[in-house]
């Protein structure tokens, strides 16, 4: 039996090729993402482990900064001296390192990364733990000298002797590059500027009396944990103490956020590949078994029992899975190497020679590859086992075509009803969390229902879709329409592969179009300022910029926005950690806030705070409630609720609670913060265009911020939403590639199945061109069917998702018609592309051989 299985596997290897490709793609993405993240993790573990001091003393981080405040937590620099006296301490030195700076060259072009990697300024000290070494020039001495890392210098053509401007929180200052440092380990992608220690303290932190941390090295024989314990005894609990290992872990996990994104994106690709690949494999095995009905019947007639037949098919699947996983693993290694190379474009110099392939990688690869094939082949295998021995004798009708779809219909209806119920529940839910989980359940169930019911929809939908074919394309059109209808299961499964991807995309497109529209409407409704000055990543910027903007000729009112993390103790006993926004008093002149009680003046008055009504209700807050509020650095106060707003949650960057307060309060409790946005109105007598020109001139030396009017601001928001869509489109791309493979697969196998029919058609005078058209039309009708299912499902999802967004205040609903039309047109192209090879193959068939084909 095994011999027969092997023979059969080898005989059909051509027909299994596309299924193998689906397995390979899935496994490649799984393996690639694992290898990549292992390699990165290992590299950075090594980097941080080798460069961290034995113990690091840092200011206590009490509140998580969900939205950056621009404040750099510091500790007193004299602590270094105190630490040095502790028994077991060999050395201690102050660190002055900040990431929230911008460095520009003499033409005001940013020198740092523009792709999101930080620009770091820190104090220079040379020791064996530094990640860099000075390779040319000399160490910085005095307030106007600096070192720059070689990667950045090379990229931006900076040489020793050039002058750079560093824009830091306290103000900007000019430095001359006196030396170049080179990374001795992996460059994590940051741009590095080194200053001497006093300069770093004064210019970056605003005072020589403070530091961002203390690095402590132990005497020989004193372990890191022992040193940490002694430091803790001496310094108390007011500081975060980390050993080298802990420091490496936390540094790696900070970087990990970015790398996790890559990992999850890759796994998303793998997931899509697996999901769509399953359809392809199911279809392939179903068709192979249909074509081999007589052969299987013969095996049964010769005495093979059902179990043996089933096992034989499953063995074939496992062979396919093993072969596909092996190639996929190799492809995954290639993919990881490619990603590592790609990372160097972002300045992260990983070495592909140091690639890490953990034991988990091959294990997971084979589990995924073989598992997927096995699962996908299981149903076809069962069907094969039910082939009767009589099939060997009869000129059997192809198995599965005529079987009723009643069970399928019932099952699909039940799952579909459950899914619909979940979506309706999601649309009517009032809590975001429950709505979101109902949405998730609804998505999965409706997807499953559509996949199950797909074959049932084939007849009615394709009758309509291809209804015009006979009239337009004559008998060629008629035959292609009927060929698509011939085996609804097959057409359904083929189209399902396309459907999955398109449903995801159209759902996301509806959600994002609705979000964009909501934001547009809100910007129209609330933004009253002539201009907004801010960073395109919404990061805080140097205070100096605020001064320059205020001093610009023609600038009238300037209202600052600044964020601060807060922890509020609510009357209901709960403690909420969120972010509050601070504004200058004349907020009403630049924004329109709708209040339920109170008003701007009472919201922003000293000692007051305002919040969103629903949030207040949830926590039993009323106007006049006194709330204990904690700011970073352990600063505490009590604020009185002065106003409740009716702002939807989308205001204030969707931060929970929509808390805001007077700028004076933030300045008092979060010293050293930076502004996140400036709302600027033109002074009386200055027209907006003139002011814009002048502001742009003022901001020329500060490339990190831009001037935007209402239209520009909308555009900025759109771009932010679009970024999310790009990822979805990339996923779609992969899903479509595999779906196209599926259509190619189905058509190719169908062509083989219909060889005699094609021979007959050619004999009685069907031209090659007409034959190709027939196959193309069939392909198009399948693709459009899949696209249509996907669009409808996606629109339903989009409507449900929009209801969840509405709970977040994004109440507008929009259907992106251009996307919808593009998807439909695209699906026609997909159909045409998928038909290329099968059509060519069919038209090349030898007529006589085809007629005689069995």
């Amino acid at each position: 039996m095994l011999k027969a299985t092997l023979r059969s596997f080898l005989a059909h290897k051509g027909r299994l090729l596309l299924s193998a490709l689906a397995v390979i793609l899935s496994v490649a993405f799984v393996a690639g993402s694992l290898i990549f993240s292992d390699t990165v993790a290992r590299t950075f573990d090594r980097l941080f482990a080798s460069t961290s001091a034995d113990v690091t003393v840092e200011p206590k981080e009490d509140l998580e900064e969900a939205v950056p405040s621009g404040q750099t937590p510091t500790l007193p620099a004299r602590l270094a001296g105190r630490v040095a006296t502790i028994d077991g301490v060999a050395r201690s030195r102050v660190d002055a390192a900040v990431e929230n700076i911008t460095v520009v060259d003499s033409e005001n072009e940013p020198v740092g990364s523009t792709t999101g990697a930080p620009t770091v300024a820190t104090n220079w000290y040379a020791n064996d733990r530094s990640p860099v070494e000075l390779t040319s020039g000399h160490a910085p001495r005095g307030e106007d000298q600096a070192l720059l890392d070689k990667d950045t210098a090379d990229k931006k053509d900076v040489e020793i002797g050039d002058t750079l401007t560093v824009l830091a929180a306290p103000g900007s200052f000019k430095v001359e590059v006196v030396g170049i440092v080179t990374f001795t380990t992996t460059n994590p992608g940051a741009a590095l500027v080194y200053l001497d220690t006093p300069t770093a303290q004064r210019e970056l932190l605003g005072s020589r009396k403070v530091a961002t941390g203390i690095s402590v090295d132990a005497d020989p024989g004193v372990s890191d944990t022992e040193l940490k314990r002694r430091l803790a005894d001496e310094l108390g609990s007011g500081y975060d103490l980390k050993t080298a290992d802990e420091q490496a872990d936390s540094a790696a996990s900070e970087l990990g956020g970015f790398l996790d994104v890559i990992k999850y994106v890759m796994l998303g690709f793998a997931g899509i590949a697996v999901l769509v690949g399953i359809f392809l494999i199911v279809n392939t095995f179903s068709m192979l078994i249909a074509q081999r009905t007589r052969e299987l019947g013969l095996l049964r007639a010769l005495g093979a029992d059902r179990r043996q037949v089933r096992r034989s098919v499953l063995t074939e699947a496992v062979l396919l899975g093993v072969a596909g996983s092996t190639v996929g693993l190799a492809a995954g290694i290639g993919l990881a190497a490619g990603l590592i190379e790609l990372m160097s474009l972002f300045g992260m110099n990983l070495k592909s020679t140091e690639m890490v392939i953990g034991w988990a990688t091959p294990v997971v690869s084979y589990v995924v590859g073989v598992g997927v094939t096995f699962v996908a082949a299981y149903l076809p295998a069962r069907r094969a086992a039910h082939v009767s021995p009589m099939a060997a004798l009869a000129d059997a009708e192809i198995a599965g075509v005529g079987r009723p779809l009643r069970i399928r219909a019932a099952f699909g209806a039940v799952v579909g009803a459950a899914g619909a119920a979940a979506l309706v529940g999601c649309a009517t839910a009032e809590k975001t969390s429950s709505a979101a989980s109902l949405l998730g359940i609804g998505l999965v169930l409706t997807l499953i229902a559509t996949v199950i019911a797909g074959p049932l929809l084939v007849r009615p939908v394709i009758r309509v879709l291809g209804g015009a074919f006979p009239a337009v394309f004559g008998s060629v059109g008629r035959m292609s329409q009927r060929n698509a209808l011939r085996n609804p299961r097959r057409t359904g499964a083929t189209a399902a592969a396309l459907m999955v991807g398109l449903a995801l995309v159209s759902g996301m497109a509806v959600a994002s179009a609705s979000m964009t529209k909501s934001f547009d409407e809100q910007i129209d409704k609330t933004l009253g300022a002539d201009f907004v000055v801010q960073n395109s990543n919404f990061l805080p910027f140097a205070r100096e910029i605020t001064e320059k903007v205020r001093d610009t000729d023609g600038a009238g009112l300037v209202v600052r926005q600044r964020f601060a993390p807060v922890k509020v103790s609510m009357p209901d006993g709960k403690s909420v950690e969120t972010t509050a926004a601070g504004y200058d008093p004349r907020l009403d002149d630049v924004a329109r806030v709708t209040y339920v009680t109170g008003g701007t003046s009472r919201a922003l008055a000293p000692g007051r705070i305002a919040m969103q009504r629903d949030f207040a209700q949830d926590h039993e807050v009323r106007t006049g409630s006194k709330l204990p509020v904690e700011f970073p650095g352990g600063r505490k106060t009590e604020l009185t609720v002065g106003a409740l707003t009716d702002q939807p949650g989308a205001e204030g960057f969707g931060v929970e609670g929509g808390l805001f307060l007077g700028m004076a309060t933030i300045e008092e409790f979060v010293p050293g913060g930076q502004d996140s946005a400036l709302y600027v109105n033109a002074a009386p007598g200055t027209d907006a265009d003139t002011l814009r020109d002048r502001l742009e001139k003022t901001l020329d030396p500060y490339p990190q911020v831009q001037v935007r009017d209402q239209a520009d601001y909308k555009e900025l928001i759109r771009e932010q939403i679009a970024v999310m869509l790009y990822l979805v489109y990339a996923l779609l791309g992969l899903a479509i590639i595999i779906a196209v493979l599926g259509v190619v697969n189905t058509l190719a196998l169908s062509v083989v199945e219909r060889t005699r029919e094609i021979g007959l058609l050619r004999a009685i005078g069907l031209a090659r061109r007409q034959l190709r058209r027939m196959i193309r039309l069939e392909s198009v009708v399948i693709a459009v069917f899949g696209a249509l299912l996907g669009l409808v499902l996606g629109l339903v999802w989009g409507v449900a998702a929009q209801q969840v967004l509405a709970l977040q205040g994004m109440t507008a609903f929009a259907i992106p018609w251009t996307t919808v039309i593009a998807v439909l047109v695209g699906s026609v192209l997909v159909g045409l592309a998928a038909a290329l090879l099968p059509a060519l193959r069919a038209s090349r068939m030898n007529v006589l051989a085809a007629i005689a084909h069995e």
């Binding site: 004559g474 008998s475 009927r482 005699r756 007959l760 005078g765 007409q770």
Partner: protein, 297 residues
């Protein structure tokens, strides 16, 4: 040994002309040492308005002859004309059109497109050509073949005999110059087979069509005006106004000649050519075609 078939030799009334003819028609498969001659310099004229049967044992080249005359296959040497058109040398595209517009086909099995109903199958060649069928003629053909109440049926809903009648109607529908029937009764029981042969006969007598039929079955051949006997890639004999008995007799005779060693000329057909299948053991007319396998040259 090839025999030009002339009107005089047939002893039949002067035909209306020649529907198709071939000169020095040769078809070889393979190359070098392994070359096999399926047809060896055959000259043949197919008389217009006649029913011609082609007989011979498996591998004698009868199907190859039909394929070449019908433009389904390319010749190794020689020339073929359909009417006044020389089809040897036509391009693939022109051949396709020629088959579509000027030739009708009936095969042993798998004659119909399963997704199309009977009427759609009948008009398929004209639909492919984008031509409107001649309604009157079509009705006449459908009436004659008794398919009126089967037109909306799909092939799967028709019996084997009905399917062959639909195929026959399709071959007739466009009023082609020549109809080729390749073992049209091979898969049918004797009653359905007789019925189909009757229709082919009627097509010649009443509808003035020209039919060439390849068959193993002396009983089927007996319906023809003229039987051509092929062996080893050559036309070895012909018989006007055949009867089942005379055909069977003739087959036996040249089978005996073949069986006589040594051969004056070694057989050049395929390996199985020498077999005595097709005649020996033929107890009766209906059983004569024991080699019921489709002939796949």
């Amino acid at each position: 040994m090839s025999t030009p078939v002339s009107a005089a030799a047939t002893g039949l009334a002067e035909p209306a002309g020649v529907a198709a003819r071939a000169r020095a028609l040769t078809k070889a498969y393979g190359s070098g040492e392994t070359t096999v001659l399926a047809l060896d310099s055959v000259d043949v004229d197919i008389a217009r308005g006649r029913f011609t049967a082609v007989m011979g044992p498996s591998g004698s080249g009868k199907s190859t002859l039909m394929h070449l005359l019908a433009g389904l296959d390319t010749v190794s040497a020689g020339q073929v004309w359909l009417g006044d058109t020389e089809i040897t040398g036509l391009k693939e595209k022109e051949l396709t059109q020629l088959r579509r517009d000027r030739i009708g086909f009936m095969f042993q099995s798998f004659n119909l497109i399963p997704t199309l109903n009977a009427l759609e199958n009948i008009t398929l060649p004209m639909d492919i050509a984008g031509q409107r069928p001649d309604r009157e003629w079509l009705d006449y053909v459908i009436e004659t073949l008794g398919l009126r109440d089967r037109l909306k049926h799909r092939p799967a809903q028709l019996s084997g005999g009905q399917q062959q009648r639909v195929a026959c109607a399709r071959a007739l529908a466009s009023r082609p110059e020549l109809i080729f029937a390749d073992e049209p009764t091979g898969n049918l029981d004797s009653r359905a087979g007789l019925e189909v042969l009757g229709f082919l006969r009627d097509a010649v007598d009443k509808l003035e069509q020209t039919v060439v039929m390849v068959t193993h079955d002396p009983g089927a051949a007996a319906h023809a005006d003229l039987v051509l006997f092929l062996a080893d890639g050559r036309i070895v004999d012909e018989m006007p106004r055949p009867t089942a008995e005379s055909v069977l007799e003739r087959l036996k005779r040249f089978d005996v000649i073949h069986a006589q060693p040594p051969h004056a000329q070694p057989p050049r057909g395929r390996a199985e050519t020498d077999g005595d299948q097709g005649v020996s053991g033929a107890g009766g007319v209906q059983d004569a075609g024991i080699d019921s396998k489709p002939d796949r040259d």
